[in-house]
């Protein structure tokens, strides 16, 4: 099927005008919150649907290129769609469509409290700038859109700005995102200078001429810039603060999609703009991947704020994606493009899968927040009886993110494992060992992720409610459930029928690497590395379902007793069981905290106030056992202090006297003229 350019152009124009209409419409309706809510989110939905069409058309081979020279200086606005761009547009749309549906219901309770006009406008701007940034074809277009995306998401994070914690989170996000932006800016300028072009096509053509220190410096700067957006450790500190503070559908978009644009940037840098580098680039990415994955999940395990737990899992999943991307770069260094293709497919497939299940989980957490008005898991419990449908959706998301069959996370993690295991074809022992340790790190991550989602689902949804809020929770409205249902179905479909996506992905990586990936697949089977490994997700699902159905039948055939009696939980002869006897999230996480105490360095405090008459009567016990972040202690704390003391010194220049400031300007001007002479 050939997709003509007119169709692509129409889809692009339609998408942009929908987002534009949504943003302007929401602002025009500023005085009628309900109208602003409906207009903003309906147009966002329409735009997202058109983006979905654009992504699919692009993956089917459609291309488009638009350039408007007059808008921006140095090259103007240049947009284009290749298969990689189209794939990321698809990822954005897959999360944006359900998010817009969900927001229609979720934002109802914001009416009268926060500005829905501003929110609607920012959301449309956010979606538009994300879809456009992956289409940017020159440096300035990219940077302008990147900044627009960051600012729009900043305003969305600040929606509930009367909360002090939100204010702090927003500030941290603002600082970190601009530090990343500065790295990107310098990197882009260096690369433009070295290749003599501001166009991405010019970078690709001239990259071979960029050598030595410049090449490495460009890579480091761009990797740090994109890495900070992706939230890799140790550049992650904004992520677990900012994502939970935003409204839940925005959290879904930020965690599900926005951080993936950092991955998009890294893939562009590694496989397109610089196309290959020394082995240490890939090795460094694998190291960062391992640290992000393992530490991300370990921090999630001790986190009892449901949304923050999910945010830490985004750090973990970015790590898993980077195993694919970093592995791919190493394979490319050793001239194994078929394996590089396999590794990159694994990373990109996990990108899509994470967008689906993380959006689902954030929406589930949002539904719980909506119903219980708390994010603290210790105050939840028993929600499976009060919100049965949300519980099923959250469970599907949990099984998917824990990478268990037959859902989608399993397929991409399986592919990642295969690409890492096939690394024995590289004839270098140090690299082999790096891959072996990566395999171990990924395995540990997946085991810990399973444990963490048992905690997340088990403590929040199962057993008895732990507070009155949880006791009185009610199932959420139709639009929120519909959005989650869509994503839950997507988790299953992407898990049992991966060939639908692999078909597009293998073309995408072939286009980037110029070689077909080392895998064959049909509608029911994936084979990697010749006969190295096979999996048939569809058969697994079918066989599991068949066996599940056959066991109850067999039990009846053998006349097993199928009676069932309900009675209280056994409690060592206790009279009544209350929620206070339940295992809590803290106690569930405690063995992990002890085993990995080196990393958490927990600070345990126990204060007991005894009755003045007798020590056998206790008035109050306060117990706290908090994990400290080694990054705050080792990196950001000292950095913060250094900045402060530097700022104190710089203050000397600021006398408040306008004449002195004018003198500064004059001196600066003279110096610049002398230099630029």
């Amino acid at each position: 099927m050939t997709i003509n350019e007119a169709l692509m152009l129409n889809l692009l124009a339609g998408m942009l005008s929908s987002f534009g209409a949504g943003a302007i419409g929401a602002l025009l309706c500023a005085r009628w919150p309900r109208a602003a809510r409906v207009v903003g989110h309906t147009f966002a939905l329409l735009g997202a649907l058109l983006a979905l069409g654009l992504g699919l058309a692009g993956l089917a081979g459609g291309t488009v290129s638009v350039s408007i020279a007059q808008v921006l200086p140095i090259g103007g606005v240049a947009l284009g769609v290749d298969r990689l761009s189209a794939f990321f547009i698809l990822v954005i749309a897959v999360a944006a469509v359900p998010s817009a549906i969900y927001a229609l219901g979720y934002t109802r309770e914001y009416e009268g409290r926060y500005s829905l006009a501003g929110m609607g406008a920012a959301l449309n701007l956010f979606l538009a700038s994300m879809s456009l940034v992956v289409m940017a074809r020159n440096a300035l277009t990219f940077l302008a859109l990147w900044e627009a995306m960051s600012l729009a998401s900043y305003f969305l994070v600040m929606t509930e700005r009367d909360d002090r914690e939100t204010e702090r989170a927003g500030w941290l996000y603002f600082v970190m995102t601009h530090a990343g932006f500065a790295c990107l800016l310098v990197g882009f300028l260096l690369l433009s200078h070295a290749t003599g072009s501001m166009e991405f096509a010019g970078w690709q053509a001239g990259a071979a001429a960029v050598t030595g220190t410049t090449r490495n410096l460009v890579f480091i700067l761009l990797a740090v810039g994109f890495g900070s957006k992706a939230g890799v450790i140790p550049l992650h500190i904004w992520l677990p603060q900012a994502h939970p503070a935003a409204p839940s559908h925005v959290s879904a978009l930020m965690s599900g999609v926005m951080i993936k644009l950092g991955i998009y940037g890294l893939v562009r840098v590694g496989f397109d703009w610089l196309s290959g580098g020394p082995a240490w680039w890939g090795g460094a990415l694998l190291l960062v991947a391992a640290i992000s994955a393992v530490l991300g999940v370990l921090y999630a395990l001790v986190e009892h704020d449901l949304k923050r737990l999910l945010a830490y899992h985004s750090v973990e999943n970015i790590g898993i994606i980077l195993f694919g991307v970093g592995g791919g770069m190493l394979f490319q260094t050793y001239h194994l493009p078929a394996l590089a293709g396999l590794a990159l497919i694994a990373g990109l497939y996990h990108t899509l899968n994470h967008a689906v299940f993380k959006s689902l989980l954030f929406m589930g957490a949002g539904a719980v927040l909506h119903a219980t008005h708390t994010r603290n898991m210790e105050e939840m419990g028993g929600l499976i009886k009060r919100m049965p449908q949300t519980a099923v959706f959250f469970l599907i998301g949990s099984v998917a993110i824990a990478a268990l069959p037959p859902f989608n996370g399993f397929i991409s993690e399986w592919l990642t494992f295969q690409s890492l295991l096939l690394s024995f074809q590289i004839p270098d022992k140090a690299v082999n060992l790096t891959f072996a340790l990566s395999v171990a790190a990924l395995a540990l991550t997946s085991g810990l992720a399973a444990a963490c989602f048992i905690k997340a689902f088990g403590i929040s949804f199962l057993a008895l409610p732990r507070s009155e809020h949880a006791e009185s929770a009610r199932e959420v409205g139709f639009s929120m459930r519909a959005a989650m249902a869509l994503l839950a179905v997507a988790c299953l479909v992407l898990g049992v029928a991966p060939f639908t996506v692999l078909k597009f992905l293998s073309k995408t990586t072939s286009e980037l690497l110029g070689a077909t990936p080392d895998m064959q697949f049909t509608w029911n089977r994936i084979v990697t590395g010749g006969s190295f490994a096979t999996v048939s997700p569809l058969w697994i699902a079918v066989a599991l379902a068949a066996l599940l159905a056959s066991i109850p039948i067999t039990l009846r055939v053998f006349r097993a007793n199928t009676a069932r009696r309900y009675y209280e939980t056994w409690g060592c002869g206790r009279a009544v069981q209350t929620a206070r006897f339940e295992y809590t999230a803290t106690s569930f996480a405690n063995p992990f905290k002890r085993v990995f105490s080196v990393l958490y360095r927990p600070v345990k405090e126990l204060a007991i106030e005894f009755h003045p008459e007798s020590r056998f009567f206790v008035r109050t016990i306060s117990y706290s056992n908090e994990a400290r972040s080694i990054f705050d202690d080792a990196i950001y704390g000292p950095l913060n202090r250094m900045l402060r003391s530097f700022a104190q010194r710089v203050r000397l220049l600021q006398s408040g006297n306008v004449n002195v400031y004018l003198l500064y300007i004059l001196v600066a001007l003279v110096v610049l003229l002398v230099i630029a002479r």
Binding site: L421, N432, A436, G458, I540
Partner: protein
Amino acid sequence: MTASILIEAIQLLIVALAAPLLVGSVRKLKARLQGRRGASVFQPYRDLRKLLVKEAVISENTSWIFRFTPYLVASVMLLSSLVVPMLTTRTPLGFTGNIIVLMYLLLLATFFLALAGLDAGSAFGGMGSSREMIIAALAEPTVMIAIFAIALRVGSTSLDEIVRRGADDSLLLLNPGHLLAFVAFFIVALAETGRLPVDNPATHLELTMIHEAMILEYSGRHLALIEWAAGMKLFLFLTLLSNLFFPWGVARTLEPLPVAIAFAALALKVGALAAAVAILETSIAKLRLFRVPELLSGSFTLALLAVISFFFVR
């Protein structure tokens, strides 16, 4: 086609029917080693029958997860028994998944068991779930690195291929990497199936049980399914250990005679490993929970050494 269906049916029946016998034999041998007479090796069958005729008492606090889990766990074990090469290197359903798929299927069962442990709202269930999961999570790296070591030797992660190429390799047991990987995998198998020194399957002492704490609320047919599945899991792990590391006697064709020999070989190998488990359980004590990570990191080191040795001797 008929032969394929027959082979799969035989595999399913072996695992389903022999699992209680395996559990009974280990218990019997342990009893003899400890100077007791012990119950008959067929006692587990009687236990299962007794559980099946009793009604299930279910906690009022539980949800559908609690009732669904026993069926899922048993289904996962039955599905695994169709995929593991038990008698031949041409397991008809072998294409559905390689060894990594198998490990993730088993993790799916553990995932739901741990959720069910939390479902009743009892402190024991939660404690069991939490402990079971830390052991499962820490065992995972060893499993994957041991798989990596095997894949390095035979150049495949497909279960059938591993057995076939292993059988062709006459110097297999002289390979240090192979033996290291075996020891690592053996330790992990003990941890995954809840045997000593990680967990004690015979204990009901509140503070030491792990797996038993997790399933404490189960009764009737649900408990029967879970006990049966635990037996099948032990059987599957011992089969994996014997066929992946000592691939002798496994049939290359689907002819009746080689399959019959393979059956006898399987019985011998699994029997020998079961005896090893019984002797080990008699001679060592259970480790404290917070010493278990040391054991597992030890097994991880062995697996990693296996991988390194393959890099250096190839």
